[in-house]
Amino acid sequence: MLSLAMIFLASLFFTGIVIRTKSLVSGRKGPGIFQPLKDVVRLFKKGAVFSQTTSFIFQVAPSIYFASVVMAILVVPVGQSKGLISFDGDFVFFAYILALGKFFSIISALDTGSSFEGMGASREALFSMLAEPAFFITMGSFALLTGHTSFHAIFTALHFGSYVSYALGTLATFVLIMIAMIENSRMPIDDPKTHLELTMIHEVMILDNSGFDLGLILYATNLKFAMYGAIIANFFISNLPLALAVPLFFAVQFFFAVIAGLLESFAARFRMAHNAEFIYTLTSFSLLIFFGVLLLMGKFI
């Protein structure tokens, strides 16, 4: 319950911090950190326009997408406090429920019958498919290391001791940040700020959504970001007492947001065809983590 509340809290300002960071390093003042929230509130109040091409899929998909993200958040623990749902192998459930949301966002994009949305859907389907193994192997490696298979158990049993484990922790943080960037369609895979139909992935899938549905999708994106932030935070706060863990959680979220902002400021987006290669690289990093864990456990004979 605590984790749910904290992730929701973090989601309120997470994207705002990313945008603020980007604004500051470009010499802007930029909108306040609650601007994304204001946008969502405005959308919740507004009416909608639906295309006559679309079917009921288009109407239900945003709700299912949102629900899937919330459901996934329920699984994520924060520090010592378990997620609302926690069982062995819950990260399989986590990944699959997110995949369900993605399935619906993809078909809702195809429902519009527009080639832009089709383009976005095609990209999203491919890249998220490619990114999945990296997540599973990273989590699998930690499952191997700790002997547990639920988020909460893995993180609480995780303790860093040797140099190798520090290296692994860094690597895993990197992989998770990158997965978070891919899943949220941010740089260097996708650039949500370009506002050009032809170059975007996620943004172009929701070109036709409006009003409440669009608000749901945008807020789900904020939640998703904060959720990955929470997973990353767990690396650092899993064994700390609550009084220390809570501020540290927000500190990690803050840093993650700043890093995301900086990452988006100082490099150009990849060429679309290079994205697949980049994601492969990520998978090999996760394999590196796996071998590291083997090394750590002395299974390399």
Partner: protein
Amino acid sequence: MLDNLKILFRQGKQYIPDVRTAAVPGIFRGRPEILPARVNEAELTALCPTGAIGAAPVRIDLGKCLFCGECAFVFPDKIRFTTDYNMATNERQRLVVAEGAEMPVRLNPDLIRKEISDYFSGSLKLRQVSAGGDNSCEMELNACGNVNFDMGRYGIEFVASPRHADGLVITGPITKNMAEPLQICYEAIPDPKIIILAGTDAISGGIFEGSPALDRRFLDRYPVDLYVPGNPVHPLTFINGVLELIRKRAKQ
């Protein structure tokens, strides 16, 4: 990385601290003033390339004015352009600056629809449609979002899809070939929505007024929420106009 930091340091803070009071460099031609001197009014009205100057009393319609300044050069003691860039209003009549009735061009608060501040104060997404025109207004609207004017800090942004937008910004005199796309775009914006006319071309047709290649019937069908004069509109005129429109007002 060091180079980046150096560039960043040189970049520093570029934004204009307060767009409401910022001064425009150089000889900006903003809201004109009509001085009490006596001149040949027929000559004066004939001078204007768009017929924006009317006689008896001398008046200038900012919705038609190209801000070329010719009248002020020929009749410097009759017409003077000030640097006041606050020229946006929501009432077409208020764009006419007449001799003797000198006052800043402001919005008419009675005409602002109530839902505008309810919905959009603090967050407004706009969809711009370029309907003819010469691209200078578009460049100035783009400039609104650059590091200097930084319109994004007020939560006002231009978006790609009209579905995501709350308002339509029209630039250009609305050509025949763009009339239908403009209509489609307007219909694609969810309610409630606003219409902003940016630039003299959009407000009256400007130098293109009367061209047979135009079709301005769109403007007869829907009410306009904001007129932003200028050729092209200055970013400060636009930002201040929109901020004034969506500002939260105390309940009367």
